[in-house]
Amino acid sequence: MANAPSLERRRLLKLAGGLLAGGAFAAGGWTFLNRGRNFFQIRRERTLMQTSVSVNVFSADPRHARYAIEAAFGRMAAVAAILTRFDPRSPVA
């Protein structure tokens, strides 16, 4: 088995730059979306289940994107409240 070194920073940036300008760094790694023109990236981050959760949306309509992100966080918070064992009010706890 050959060694498989980490990606060199230069190569990673080249890879990312060839795809798009925007990107996000998260606990799971770096995420990039190949996108077209006239797209805005909206990113919001909150803590749920003792974890930092980020929602990234590319949309031509940033106001609608922000509305959708709020809906997503609302949905995730409601479900997390049921499944988390860190909240004594949860049925799991």
Partner: protein
């Protein structure tokens, strides 16, 4: 528990399906052991006293003793408990993405500490490149996987560990009560984050041939870093666009 909420039913039902598919390598009833470790001051010392308590708690582990039917969820034996830590985050991410889709969003990614669900419009031109942390140098990217509409979960021994040498970390082999030390990081790509999350946990306890076989049966792709980080393996169809890994 009688009449559990539908979300809890969904997660427990899927957890039991993954437990059955992995012969218990994923098991939510590992909670008594995990809870013990989480309550210890760190760094933890694996001494005879700890081994005795782990053995006692390990006797309470076993997904087949969960009774899940039309009336509710209960345990067939005393001393049992469940932790949804290895599956709930994925489910929450799936729910968040469903909300985005309902709002008309076509290009989005949600990341909850390594549990990722991405979607991009199906025009063949848009996709997400997701960097996988190098478990030996966590400020570096070790590989890049390309997805357009999929979930991806990465777990590693660098996240939460109890002993200084990281040999005891947040993933516990339900069959032994201790952390498996084959891999330092495993990434699983699946259709839903609930599946990739749970299968990623189970993968740590499997040797490579079994890992490959079980993942194929679940239609999941995977990438694993050896414990020392020097070697990497992947499924044949993993959409790896940067980094190197061997196929079996």
């Amino acid at each position: 528990m009688t009449d559990p909420p539908s979300h809890l039913r969904n997660v427990v039902e899927h957890a039991l399906a993954v437990s059955a598919a992995t012969d218990g390598d994923f098991d939510v009833t590992v909670e008594p052991v995990l809870d013990y470790y989480l309550g210890l001051p760190r760094p933890v010392s694996v001494d005879p006293g700890l081994r005795r308590i782990v053995a006692q708690r390990e006797a309470c582990v076993g997904y087949k003793s969960i009774v899940f039917d039309g009336t509710g969820i209960r345990f067939a034996r005393g001393g049992m408990g469940i932790t949804l830590d290895g599956i709930a985050k994925g489910y929450v991410v799936d729910q968040g993405l469903a909300a985005l889709r309902r709002a008309g969003i076509e290009d989005a990614l949600i990341d909850a500490g390594g549990d990722i669900r991405a979607v991009a419009r199906a025009d063949g031109k848009r996709f997400w490149n997701v960097g996988i942390v190098d478990p030996q140098q966590t400020n570096r990217v070790g590989a890049v996987v390309r997805v357009s509409n999929a979930a991806l979960s990465t777990s590693g021994n660098y996240e939460v560990f109890f002993t200084a040498d990281r040999r005891l970390f947040h993933i516990i082999n339900p069959h032994t009560g201790y952390s498996p030390n084959r891999y330092s990081s495993v990434t699983v790509v699946a259709a839903e984050a609930m599946e990739s999350d749970a299968m990623g946990v189970a993968a740590f306890s499997m040797d490579l041939p079994r890992l490959d076989r079980v993942m194929a049966a679940r239609r999941a792709e995977w990438l694993a870093f050896s414990w020392d980080g020097d070697r990497r393996w992947r499924s044949r169809d993993l959409p790896l666009v940067a980094g190197e890994a061997h196929t079996l």
